[in-house]
């Protein structure tokens, strides 16, 4: 299975560490400000993580054949998730959760886009992902790309993807895909706002989304 290369596992873990580190730096800056050292160059209290450039540049093909890039998504926050339509569990669960979050946010629910990127271009054609996301009863931007395009966006987001044969005795047969299961929250400027983990409580997820659209 040569077309999906490995990335170090724990990409999310690494990003989390970085976010924690940045939060710690922000806290330190906050403390400095509090103790009257504001002349030192720290100007305002923007969340530091939001300034981190992230994910792009990338170019993908939407379900309708249109080109989707970080530029075309800019201007509105979005929640982006990587998966494949042959995933029986995590992908439908996550997309359903996202649809529910949007409903639970009420008026704010339309202030962010939901983006689903298939990392299985060999089997998920644009029309396939289009009909797949229609199941979820909320607008979802579905996209995929060539192996090279997907390698680029995976690198940008630090998304781990690995094809694994369902039957180890038949390496050329059917396969599943190990993949990062977190949802990346991107602000309108295309910067990482936060990540919602697969096991995270719904209330935490909603708080993160409110922060994203607020």
């Amino acid at each position: 299975m040569p077309d999906i290369d490995d990335m170090p596992a724990g990409g999310i873990a690494a990003i989390r560490k970085l976010l924690w580190l940045m939060a710690a730096v922000a806290a330190l800056l906050g403390a400095l400000l509090y103790f009257g050292l504001e002349g030192s160059g720290a100007d305002k209290q923007t969340p530091v993580a939001a300034k981190m450039p992230f994910g792009g540049p990338f170019e993908l093909t939407g379900a309708d054949g249109s080109v989707l890039t970080e530029q075309s998504l800019a201007g509105k926050p979005y929640a982006i998730f990587f998966g494949f339509t042959r995933c029986p569990d995590v992908c439908p669960t996550t997309l359903s959760r996202m649809a529910l979050w949007r409903k639970q946010l009420g008026k704010d629910g339309d202030k962010f886009n939901i983006v689903f990127v298939s990392v299985d271009p060999a089997r998920d054609k644009p029309a396939d992902i289009g009909s797949y996301v229609e199941l979820f009863d909320t607008p979802i931007i579905a996209a995929t790309g060539t192996d090279a395009q997907l390698a680029q966006i995976r690198k940008g987001f630090g998304v781990y993807v690995k094809k694994v044969p369902l039957d180890p005795a038949k390496p050329g047969g059917d396969y599943t895909i190990d993949h990062t299961a977190g949802v990346f929250l991107m602000d309108a400027q295309g910067h990482l706002s936060s990540i919602i983990d697969h096991h995270e409580a719904e209330s935490t997820a909603l708080d993160k989304l409110r922060m994203l659209v607020g």
Binding site: A127, S131, D197
Partner: protein, 162 residues
């Protein structure tokens, strides 16, 4: 298709037509199976996950060794785990042990049945017949209720629960 209903319904005078919205259980020997369900699938989707509870009322362990369905080219038994934020799904070629006196839950986020090579999409409200084979108890026909894609738990588990 003739299914063995669980003892829950055995003593009740319930017309058969009422069963789709009532309890949805199956038994074979000492094995009791509760609420098999699956999710609706898109027209182009070729797999579906199946979930159910398996209780072993016997005094010795049994094992779900395989499954099949006329609606899928193949049915496998899988485990799913999260490892550093990465979803990993693996086939359990030896099946799942059901310890004596215990219930094993196949549910989203963990163990599941996987229907592979769907012959037709799973339509919301439908029933997907399948055969589950146990090492000791033998084979039992069950049906998986097709629930909305957003489902995280069986809808027929009892309305008191929601």
């Amino acid at each position: 298709m003739k299914f063995k209903r669980a003892s829950l319904l055995a003593g009740l005078v319930v017309p058969v037509l009422a069963t789709p919205v009532l309890a949805h259980n199956f038994t074979i020997g000492k094995i009791a199976i509760g609420h098999p369900w699956t999710r609706e699938t898109a027209a182009t989707q070729s797999v579906g996950g199946g979930f159910l509870n398996i209780r072993n009322n016997g005094k010795t362990a049994d094992r779900l060794v395989s499954a099949s369905s006329p609606f899928a080219a193949e049915v496998q038994i899988h485990t799913m785990s999260m490892d550093g934020g990465v979803m990993k799904m693996r086939q359990l070629k030896d099946g799942i042990t059901i310890p004596a006196g215990q219930t094993v839950e196949l549910k989203p986020g963990g163990l599941h049945i996987m229907f592979i090579g769907l012959k037709q999409p799973f339509k919301k409200g439908g029933q997907i017949p399948a055969m589950l084979k146990f090492q000791k108890a033998g084979s039992v026909k069950v049906s998986f209720a097709v629930q909305p894609v957003g489902s995280a738990a069986p809808m027929e588990a009892g309305h008191a629960g929601h």
